[in-house]
Each structure stands twice: as C-alpha cells, then as structure tokens.
C-alpha cells in the first residue's frame, strides 16, 4: 500500500497544512495585537488597518485609503504619507497580495465560505471577470474625487470588520455576512478574486515584488489538479507549472498570486516552494 502512494504517507498533517496554519496564525496575531490595547491596556499596536502606530513610534497607513484621500482633494498629513511609504515598501518586497492572504481578516471569511461551498458541493457560480476589481478600484478613486470623501471606506468590508472588532461592531456584521453569502452561493471566490478593489490595488503594488511562488519541481507534477482546486487565483499557476517551452521560468510572476502557499501544502509531489522572482 505504502508503495503505491508513498508521498501521501510521508507528508504528515503538519506538512499538508503548514502554510495555511502559518497564515491563519499571522492573521489572528495581527488582529490580537490590535486587541491587546482595548482588552489588556497593552498598546503595542494602536489604531486599525487604515492607519496605526507601532510601539508608539512607527506610523503605518493603508496606501489605497490614502490614495482615495488624495483623490478627494485633501493634502494628507506627513505622518500618513510616511506611513503609506513604509507599507508600500514592505509589500514591494514580500508581494502585494500578501496583504490579502496574510493580513486581511475578510480572507478568513471568504476562505470559510469557499470551504463550505466545496463541502456542500455548491457548483453554481455567477461568472465575473477578473478585471472587475480593477474597474471597481478606478470607480472608487473617481467617486472619491467627485464626492470629496474617501468613498470605498463607506462600504469596505475589510476595515469594517477589523474596525468593528477593535472599536465596536455596530451593524458591520451585515456587510461581512453579505460577503460570506456572496462567496458561498453567488460566485466562487467572488469577493477576493473578482470584486475587491483593495486586492486589485495591492496586486498592482506587487507587479514587481521580490518574493514569489515557484514550481521548480514541475517535472514531478502528476496532473492531479490539487493546486488548481485550492488556489484562489488558479490562472496564475498555469504559465509556471505548464509552460509552453521548457525554458520558461517556473516562477509564478502573475501579481494576482497572493503568496498564500496553499499550493505547497497540498502538493504531495512537493513541486512548489517560495523563492525570489529571479528563481
């Protein structure tokens, strides 16, 4: 038996879920750091994902929110601009959409929706274009410019949920529930992979980012399809795993990739690993 499926038995539960667990740990740790203040009076991380202060010294600001503020016609304060530059540099290094899979609390919600969708075998999916989120991003910036207010923050489920947990929820559950149901019954991976303009923005930030997913052992691929099924942006895998020419790079260069590492987890042939964009 063990000879017919050696890889499956060699890789334990930890290896098959390592990156998922690391990711969840990071997401919840960041949230917990924000909650240390209001819960225990330990103010290591103050504010919320829109803008925060680390250890009373380093300010961080969400660059997409700041961009909308600039579009609305407000000359942002020095602290906010500086904070946004730090955040941009970080994501240029580790990958833009690392925000989506390692920081964003809505990712936990949509992953849960997708898990349940698979469990319940809900196959109906309303087709949306990947480019929709880019257009929503443009729309959010244009609306900010026209109304003079930071438009997306009026509805943004990410900050709504995170601010809600740290400062007080109000009716923000409604928006979170809406996103969950949307991903569960309307469109597979609907919110994060098709509509969210924040993800679209971070995708653009990560166009030239350094840390990448890589498929160096692609010749070992057995075409089982596990990585495609688990990937929130499966189209990014194809050029690296199934190249037109053998000389094509095995690095996943599509900035839609969120560097979540789930493909590493599920691949029993250990095709994937993290690398730099240079291989």
């Amino acid at each position: 038996m063990s000879e017919t499926a050696p890889a499956a038995t060699e890789r334990g539960l930890w290896q098959r879920n390592k990156w998922l667990l690391l990711r969840r740990t990071t997401q919840f740790s960041i949230l917990f750091l924000f909650l240390l203040g209001p819960w225990f009076g330990i103010w290591w991380l103050k504010g919320n994902l829109a803008s925060s202060v680390v250890l009373d010294t380093i300010g961080l600001t969400d660059p997409f929110i700041l961009l909308q503020s600039l579009a609305s016609g407000h000359a942002a304060g020095q602290a906010a601009v500086f904070g946004a530059v730090i955040v941009l540099m970080f994501y240029l290094l580790v990958g833009g959409r690392v925000y989506c899979s390692w920081v964003c609390p809505i990712n936990v919600v949509t992953d849960a929706a997708n898990w349940l969708r698979n469990r319940l075998k809900l196959n109906l999916s309303w087709q949306l274009k990947k480019s929709t989120r880019l257009w929503i991003m443009v729309m959010a910036l244009a609306t900010s410019a026209i109304t003079g207010a930071i438009a997306w923050e009026a509805v943004n489920p990410i900050t709504m949920l995170q601010r809600g947990l740290v400062f007080g929820m109000g009716l923000a559950w409604v928006i979170v529930l809406a996103v969950f149901l949307f991903d569960l019954v309307v469109t597979r991976r609907g919110w994060c992979s098709h509509l969210c303009p924040v993800g679209a923005f971070y995708g653009l930030v990560g166009k030239r980012s350094l840390v990448r997913m890589n498929a160096p052992e692609r010749t070992a691929c057995t075409d089982c399809g596990d990585c495609f099924r688990v990937c929130p942006e499966p189209h990014v895998i194809i050029p690296a795993l199934k190249p037109e020419k053998d000389t094509d790079t095995s690095v996943i260069l599509d900035s839609d990739c969120t560097n979540c590492g789930r493909c590493i987890d599920v691949c029993d042939e250990e095709v994937f690993r993290f690398s730099t964009r240079f291989g």
Partner: protein, 218 residues
Amino acid sequence: MKSNMSDRLNRRQFIGQCAHTVGSMSILGLLLGTYTRQSASTPARAIRPPGAIAEEDFTGACVRCGLCVRDCPYDTLKLAEFGSDVATGTPYFIARDIPCEMCEDIPCVAACPTDALSKDLTDIRDADMGVAVLTGPDTCYSVTGVAHCRACYVACPIRDEAITMEQKRVGNRIYFEPTVHAQHCTGCGKCEQGCVTEEASIKVLPRHLAKHDAGRIA
C-alpha cells in the same frame, strides 16, 4: 473582405465592452457616491473632535483609524459604528455623555496622521467644535426661577468668558440667564453635560446651526 468584417466586429465588440464597463461602473459609482454623500451628513448632536477641518472636507481627510479615539484620555471620542447616523468609522462625541475636557496638549490632534484634525490648532481655547446655545429657556431652572442653578456656568472651563450669568428682569422678577459668548465658546459641551434638567436646557450645536453673534472670530 473577411478581415474587414472581423475588424468591424471587433470594433463593435470593443465599443460594446467599453460601454459595458463604463456603464456598470458608473451605476456603482453613482450608488456609492450618493451613499457616501448621504452618510456624510452628520447629525447635530454628534460633535467632531477639536481641530476637525470643515465637515465637507473631513470625510475626505479622515481615514477612520481611531488614533484620536485611542489617545483621548477621557474616553470622550467614539468611532461611528456602521449603521449609526454618523459616517462609519469617523470620530465624534456626544457632549451630554462625555464632553471634551479641553486637554492643553490636545492629544487627539497630535495623534491624527492625516491632519483631518488640523495641527494648526495649538491652543485648545481656539477650538471650534460647536457653540453652546440655551435651547431650553422654558426648562432652565435659573430662567424659570425653579432654583438658583448655575450648573452650566460652574461646569464651563472658561467661565466668565464663554459663559456668564446675566441678570435679567421681567416685571418685578429678577433672574439670571446663562449667556454664551460665542466668540469664546469652544463647544466642549461641559455645560450640556452639567445641566441638571432631564433634557439638557443648554446644548452644543454646530456653529452653522447656532444663531449667535457674528460668529467665531478666532
């Protein structure tokens, strides 16, 4: 001929695609814009922190991070929750619950990363959160003569400048009326909180709603 056809088809498709995208995004933008505008109309009882720039600019400047709320030592400031009538995530306070204590170092302004709370405010006495108005002369104990109350006057951190008890006379009756001097009032709301009547007889209103002297001369 064939290439001409496909060219025409492509152009038609292209224009169709453009119309589709621009159209759907315009609809979304209109909805979002209307909602954004609507939710930016702040109710009179919600008062912005000291140094807050003009309300129509505030929702473009404030990133809703809550750092002002965190640095307020009196827990005066709150972040509006989704579903309330104040723009979601923006800071405000309700004077009747917890008024502004007018800290000399103005920590909320210092905390603001975007200058939505303007760093130009360096003296808290120049703050212009609103202006107190004697909204209930018919319930005010001092005016009606129920008691020798001067709770609002005593509560005021800049009494004798922002508020005085002016002697008034109606027929034979002499009484003292709490009188706000708008050019000194910062809108901190201490008077509103201090008022002993069930519904406060003196309230802080946004300056544009308060009929008062020529307005604040800072």
